[in-house]
């Protein structure tokens, strides 16, 4: 099966000289959940923004193929209309507008019959949004804002939904609710590309994961493979007991093998 999204050795630069992505290649298959893990500054957000076309004139090199079409360097409106929706880390809500108006903007340009059905679906995922519909988005709690952002993105019927740190700043219970909703969205047939710092949460739902460091993909595999990797255990899952001395001191900085 041809992948939904195929990225071939893209390079993104800031200010024309600072490399953020060093020739990344990855593939996203239809109907699966893909997770991208990595420390701060690895280029995770840059990668999503590059795909969404939000970084002007980038990627400098390489190609991004979506459903058989080259989409690199297209304007963001165009990419969005092809079916890629990006939910940024700050959620990208219209803070002065009400919940209802935010959702209405998610329906921009849609005139089909399924609008009502989709509204039902997102209200089913996040029933709280119905109670809050007359409230301004900025008065919502962090979790509710994240729910609104995901709901609004879903109303665009994306083929690929890209989420930047959906669990950021949420209480564990709320984060679980959001993650459960993502599973339901995935089951309905939407492909997800999720950037997370919370590796445990991400690996629990993902079908495949990539580990990004300093603008390069250093490791990839199924969640099981990743979890079994010693370096991932130590650095991302906080289980690296082997590298401690009997007194509990860390005697040397372990070299990563990637």
């Amino acid at each position: 099966m041809t992948p939904l999204l195929k990225i071939s050795s893209i390079e993104t630069l800031y200010f024309d000289r600072i490399y953020a992505l060093h020739g990344i290649s990855l593939e996203v298959k239809e109907r699966e959940i893909f997770a991208i893990l990595g420390p701060n500054g690895a280029g995770k957000t840059t990668l999503l923004k590059t795909i969404a076309g939000l970084i002007k004139d980038q990627p400098k090199k390489g190609t991004i193929e979506f459903r058989g079409r080259m989409i690199q360097r297209l304007p963001p409106e165009k990419i969005s209309s092809l079916g890629i929706v990006y939910v940024p880390e700050d959620r990208g809500l219209f803070r002065e507008l009400t919940v209802e108006e935010n959702l209405d903007l998610g329906l921009w340009g849609r005139r089909d019959e399924a609008v009502k059905e989709d509204l039902e679906f997102v209200h089913g995922l996040f029933p709280i949004l119905r109670d809050r519909r007359k409230q301004q988005a900025e008065t919502l709690s962090g979790g509710e804002q994240q729910m609104l952002a995901i709901a609004r993105a879903m109303l665009r019927r994306p083929h690929l939904l890209m989420l930047d740190e959906p669990s950021l700043g949420l209480a564990p219970k709320v984060a679980r609710h959001v993650i459960d909703a993502l599973l339901q969205i995935s089951r309905k047939g939407t492909t997800l590309l999720v950037v997370e710092q919370n590796a445990k949460l991400a690996l629990r739902i993902a079908h495949y994961g990539y580990i990004l460091e300093a603008g390069r993909i250093v490791l990839e595999g199924t969640p099981k493979e990743l979890e079994e990797n010693e370096d991932v255990q130590e650095l991302y899952l906080g289980m690296g007991e082997q590298s401690l001395s009997p007194k509990g001191w860390r005697l040397y900085k372990k070299r990563r093998r990637w």
């Binding site: 304007p75 940024p88 700050d90 219209f94 665009r156």
Partner: protein
């Protein structure tokens, strides 16, 4: 009391025109953070265009509409042909503001070249000297028309921005451009419509001001500055604020001109603005920008 009402109403009439000018400025500022220094000049270009059309014996209603269209197209053309390419080349905000200043100077030059520097009377169907007596107050036909135009313009803009989907997209675009783009909203087109609408309001103000003043290439300069001051008084990013600011400025001018001295008219208005801004730097109805980092 009668004198008070007289000054009040003449102030209200001028104030509603300031409000229209201020609305146009606020609309652009809100959505693009650009202060449009060509706003007055676009309006005077519209008025001169109307003057030429009237010379061709075209009925005034049609002239009016065509002048509005002319102003809108001018502003939209400026947005698409100059601002958008400038933004593509990463022009700074200040650079874009200077571009509007340049447009203003170009229009001034062209209108001087085409229509000459001589002040010309502007034949207007509503007369300044025909006076109606409403409940003991004398009010000129032109004032009634002016107040009606200000009211109508404000209401139409309110309905457009608050009650239509286009207005919703305008509000969304002005609040968070990037989010609007990722939702597939055609932000360029939306912003162009904002520019066109703003210019349209400016031309309405220009056409109603023309019979009060004589038409020369710089006749909109003072009303533009007043509208600008009114917009700041009301809070630059607030549309209701622009209306309130315009009316306050107009009424203050009317009363000061009547009771104190005509020479003192501008001074008092700006003293009020200074006083208000000392107490509320963000303007009467403006909101302070709170940026999350």
């Amino acid at each position: 009391m009668e004198r008070f009402l007289l000054y009040f109403i003449s102030g209200l009439a001028v104030g509603s025109l300031y409000a229209l000018v201020a609305l146009g400025l606020s609309l652009i500022y809100r959505s693009t953070r650009i202060l449009n220094f060509a706003h007055g000049d676009i309006a005077s270009a519209g008025a001169f265009f109307a003057l030429t059309l009237m010379g061709l014996k075209i009925p005034f209603g049609l002239v009016f509409i065509m002048a509005l269209l002319f102003g809108s197209l001018l502003a939209m053309g400026f947005y698409f042909c100059i601002l958008v390419p400038a933004q593509r080349r990463e022009a700074t905000l200040l650079g874009q503001i200077i571009l509007t200043l340049g447009l203003g100077l170009i229009i001034q030059g062209l209108t001087s070249r085409i229509w000459g520097m001589e002040p010309q009377p502007f034949p207007f169907p509503l007369s300044d000297s025909k006076v109606w007596n409403i409940g003991g107050i004398y009010i000129s036909e032109l004032s009634v028309g002016t107040i009606a135009a200000g009211l109508l313009g404000s209401i139409c803009l309110y309905l457009l921005v608050q009650r239509t989907r286009l207005g919703l997209a305008m509000r969304a675009t002005s609040e968070n451009l990037q989010a609007a783009q990722t939702l597939g909203i055609p932000t360029r087109r939306i912003l162009a419509i904002s520019w066109g609408t703003a210019a349209l309001l400016g031309v309405v103000a220009g056409l109603f001001l023309a019979p009060l003043l004589l038409l020369d290439p710089f006749y909109m300069l003072e009303p533009f500055l007043k509208g600008f001051a009114a917009a700041i008084l009301g809070g630059l990013n607030s549309l209701p604020g622009a209306i309130v600011g315009g009316l306050i400025l107009g009424i203050a001018e009317g009363l000061a001109g009547g009771y104190i001295s005509i020479a003192f008219k501008n001074t008092l208005a700006f003293l009020i603005i200074i006083a208000v801004l000392l107490v509320r730097p963000e303007g009467l109805l403006g909101e302070e920008f709170i940026e999350r980092v």
